[in-house]
């Protein structure tokens, strides 16, 4: 029924033509014949950005999108031979939405590269599609370690994976903080639980005693985990999960009188953490992230320049993964500048790329993980999250 109705409508639009030839013409357009100039060669190419742009966690995805936009707009402003269009695809962080969007991007929009998917869960479902469609993809934020162990040739990411992060922060807890008794809480998500396991392994290797529990981030009352933490009397508490739950957790821990330094990973690197914790509860907490957020330009000249441009364009400070989003776009831009305008050529170029980015040196290992494995430590101070430095070097007051 629907199908016939549509056909009829389409036919009517092409009045005057013989019906059959009109339909034939239409199907030719539908097949993407008209999009050829948008695809390989010609005036421009399209790069996609796939991630949660309107869902619950869009606060983590909009900054890298803006970072990518900044890089591409700046490049287009130089009036290059091949212009780049950034097309966004809103998956709401869900695999079942990301998969058809990825297929649309490949078959209809003829993207030559994809920034994303943003989250690990959707990446596990959509990356195989991009792999088979031979579309190079660079995620600015998917950190799940297992993603790079699939032998995918078109997969890349701009952040170190959770194993690197977990090992970095676990060692940091055991050696720099010299914590002997660590309590680890995970949020039971595909991000939090594996991260908690690598932190646990690294901390135990460093000589600390580790006890564990979990919370349900959609719940409000974390007292079961808090009571266990209280009984364990830890020097350090690591939370593997996102900041909305992290803030509530800090609040309930402190109100129950649990002392011990609070630490968390990249999922909690947001001002919302200290707001949710209330008052000064979160102050002194340390957040690890394989990402660089550096609005003051402490990390270097490139970082400073990026922060200024970002502020000028979006009237906001660079936030989580905005630098990585910028670098992911830069990688594609470099490839296109070097004369590669098809997906496969761009992917070849990405294998050898080695240029300075904002967040790190843009260079990928054979499995798509970035060559640079720096984990940065940030300290919660009031409503701000100043950068302390690399986990291997950071000094804690």
């Amino acid at each position: 029924m629907e199908r016939l109705g549509t056909l009829r409508r389409n036919k009517m639009r092409v009045t005057g033509a013989v019906a059959v030839s009109a339909v034939l013409a239409l199907s030719a357009v539908g097949c993407g014949g008209g999009d050829d100039d948008k695809g390989s060669g010609g005036d421009g190419v399209t790069i996609g950005f796939l991630g949660d742009l309107t869902g619950e966690n869009s606060g983590i995805v909009i900054p890298p999108k803006q970072g990518a936009q900044l890089a591409i707009d700046a490049y287009n402003a130089t009036n290059p031979k091949v212009k780049i269009t950034l097309k966004t695809y809103d998956s709401q962080g869900k695999g079942e939405q990301a998969v058809p969007l990825a297929k649309q991007a490949i078959t209809k929009d003829k993207v030559v590269g994809m920034i994303g998917p943003a989250f690990s869960g959707e990446s596990a479902q959509a990356d195989p599609v991009l792999e088979e469609g031979k579309i190079p993809n660079i995620s600015a934020s998917a950190t799940n370690a297992a993603l790079s162990s699939n032998g995918w040739k078109f997969f890349h990411r701009m952040v170190a994976n959770d194993n690197v992060q977990g090992a970095g922060v676990g060692t940091f807890i055991a050696t720099t903080l010299k914590a002997k008794n660590v309590f680890i809480i995970n949020d039971q998500s595909e991000y939090g639980k594996p991260l908690s396991q690598t932190v646990k392994a690294a901390a135990e290797k460093g000589g600390a005693k580790v006890t564990e529990d979990a919370i349900d981030p959609t719940a409000s009352d974390y007292s079961a985990a808090v009571n266990k933490a209280k009984a364990a009397k830890p020097d350090a508490i690591f939370f593997a999960g996102y900041y909305a739950a992290g803030g509530k957790l800090i609040k309930q821990l402190r109100e129950a009188g649990v002392k011990g330094r609070f630490l968390s990973g990249d999922g909690s690197l947001d001002k919302g953490l200290s707001a949710g914790a209330g008052g000064t509860n979160a102050d002194g907490s340390l957040i690890a992230c394989p990402c660089l957020i550096d609005p003051t330009g402490k990390a270097g000249e490139a970082s400073k320049k990026f922060a200024e441009q970002y502020k000028a364009k979006f009237n906001a400070e660079p936030a989580i993964y905005s630098a990585e989003g910028y670098d992911a776009a830069t990688a594609f831009i470099e490839a296109i500048k070097a004369g590669n305008t098809t997906a496969e050529k761009i992917n070849e170029y990405l294998k050898t790329i080695d240029v300075a980015g904002v967040s790190k040196q843009i260079k990928f290992g054979a499995n798509g993980d970035p060559a640079a494995e720096d984990v940065y430590i940030y300290e919660v101070k009031g409503g701000t999250l100043p950068l302390l430095g690399k986990a291997s070097e950071a000094k804690v007051s």
């Binding site: 549509t6 056909l7 199907s27 539908g30 998969v99 078959t107 479902q125 039971q188 595909e190």
Partner: protein, 429 residues
């Protein structure tokens, strides 16, 4: 449901408001609407559309039941051909300009349609309220993932195992709980859905929250492609390989789903007209009376649960074989609620109805992508509006409608109903 005391007694004499004759129905409804709820007046255009639609549906049905067998079969064949040509480029440009149409047709659209047909066996035919149907979808999905990745079984073997395992889990859930009354069953099934999801999340053997990746595709049956000839070239389907399965092949999965849907419809239709179907109708309408007349109600309720579960499991197996990776969060409670909404808004008990319902709940949110972040908001409002204006569903089951007129609509109506203008209209007719 099992109206042991209150509901059935209360149902009597509280005549429902449906009528076989749509125009009178509409007039009366409008009258009631104008008097009782001023909001109805504002939404009259929508009311008009749904009523007209209902009237067309009635007329069509009158015509349809008078047709001889061969002409019905022609229509069935035409519908299947239509289904085969559905993922065409022209349809796609209207139906889903922003995301891949053939993939959408496979899931969520095809998947929801099949899930809705399965849930309809439980809710629409046997009258059991199941709020945890997603559990069986999950069990099917995990069966595919575990046997495919850990034991290297092929899709077709696993499909059988998945059917058996999910049917078994339906029995395991049903055996202790089906003696409970309606709403107790609802919360228990809801709990079961959550238990399955959380247990998957906490079980390392099946990947915990990471789920299972690298699920194999079904082996390709044939490399044959649609020829560049009528009718395929007309709708841009030439060159599509309908029987070869890979990551990028959206069409073949859709055809797999379509074939499963057709098979399940035939099965469900035959069931509906069999002794089992009549037993379900008896259980649904008055369980106590059915039991007294010698219908082994518990056995039939359990059968409904097992069959519904098996269909849900089949969708899970097919979905997982396409999705490559599944995680526990693919199976949230809200999916159970969505499928139930599809069944009810389509017309509980009527297979074409629940298919339309499932199509709409799967398609509307994708089609209104241009509303961006407002699309769930609008979806919620549409759900309320549809229920307010067509509580019996878009294409209600005729049998169900008759029950509605008797008062209980099989599920029992809300308590405290007053014999108001609605009953007057009914009596006056």
């Amino acid at each position: 449901m099992s109206n042991s005391t209150g509901v059935s007694a209360r149902g009597k004499g509280r005549a429902g408001f449906g009528s076989a004759f749509p125009v009178a129905y509409e007039r009366a409804r409008r009258r009631a609407g104008a008097r009782r709820a001023p909001l109805n007046l504002l939404l009259l255009p929508l009311l008009y559309v749904t009523e007209t639609f209902g009237a067309i549906n009635e007329t069509f049905h009158e015509w349809w039941i008078r047709q001889p067998g061969w002409s019905r079969w022609t229509v069935y064949i035409l519908l299947i051909v239509g289904g085969v040509l559905l993922p065409s480029e022209q349809v796609a440009s209207f139906m889903s300009p922003e995301t891949d149409w053939a993939t959408l047709l496979f899931f969520p659209i095809g998947g929801y349609v099949l899930l809705a047909i399965g849930l309809n066996v439980v809710v629409g035919q046997a009258g059991l309220l199941d709020l945890g149907y997603v559990a069986f979808f999950a069990i099917g999905g995990y069966t595919m993932a575990v046997f495919g990745t850990k034991y290297g079984w092929s899709f077709w073997e696993i499909l059988l195992v998945g059917l058996v395992l999910s049917a078994l889990s339906g029995v395991v859930l049903g055996a202790p709980t089906l003696r409970l009354r309606g709403d107790y069953l609802a919360i228990v099934t809801l709990g079961f859905g959550e238990i399955v999801r959380i247990t998957a999340n906490n079980t390392e053997y099946i990947g915990g929250p990471n789920g299972i990746g690298g699920i194999p595709h079904p082996p390709s049956l044939s490399e044959w492609a649609f020829p560049d000839a009528f009718p395929f070239n007309l709708v841009g389907l030439e060159g599509v390989q309908p029987l070869s399965y890979g990551t990028l092949s959206a069409h073949s999965y859709y055809y797999l789903m379509l074939a499963t849907i057709v098979a399940v419809i035939i099965f469900a239709k035959r069931l509906e007209r069999s002794r089992v179907g009549r037993a379900w109708a008896a259980v649904r309408e008055d369980e106590d009376a059915a039991e007294l007349m010698g219908v082994p109600t518990f056995k039939f309720k359990l059968a409904a649960f097992a069959i519904g579960a098996a269909i849900g499991g089949a969708v899970g197996v097919v979905y997982a074989s396409q999705a490559i990776s599944i995680i526990p969060n693919n199976f949230p409670f809200i999916l159970s609620a969505t499928i139930l909404a599809a069944v009810v808004m389509g017309g509980s008990g009527n297979i074409p109805g629940v298919m339309v319902g499932a199509f709409l709940v799967a398609w509307i949110p994708e089609r209104i992508r241009f509303f961006g972040e407002y699309r769930v908001l609008i979806f919620g409002a549409v759900l309320v509006a549809l229920m307010v204006f067509r509580p019996e569903g878009i294409l209600p089951s005729r049998q169900r409608k008759a029950e509605l007129e008797e008062g209980t609509g099989g599920m029992g109506s809300m308590g405290a109903e007053v014999a108001g203008p609605t009953a007057d209209a009914e009596a006056g007719r």
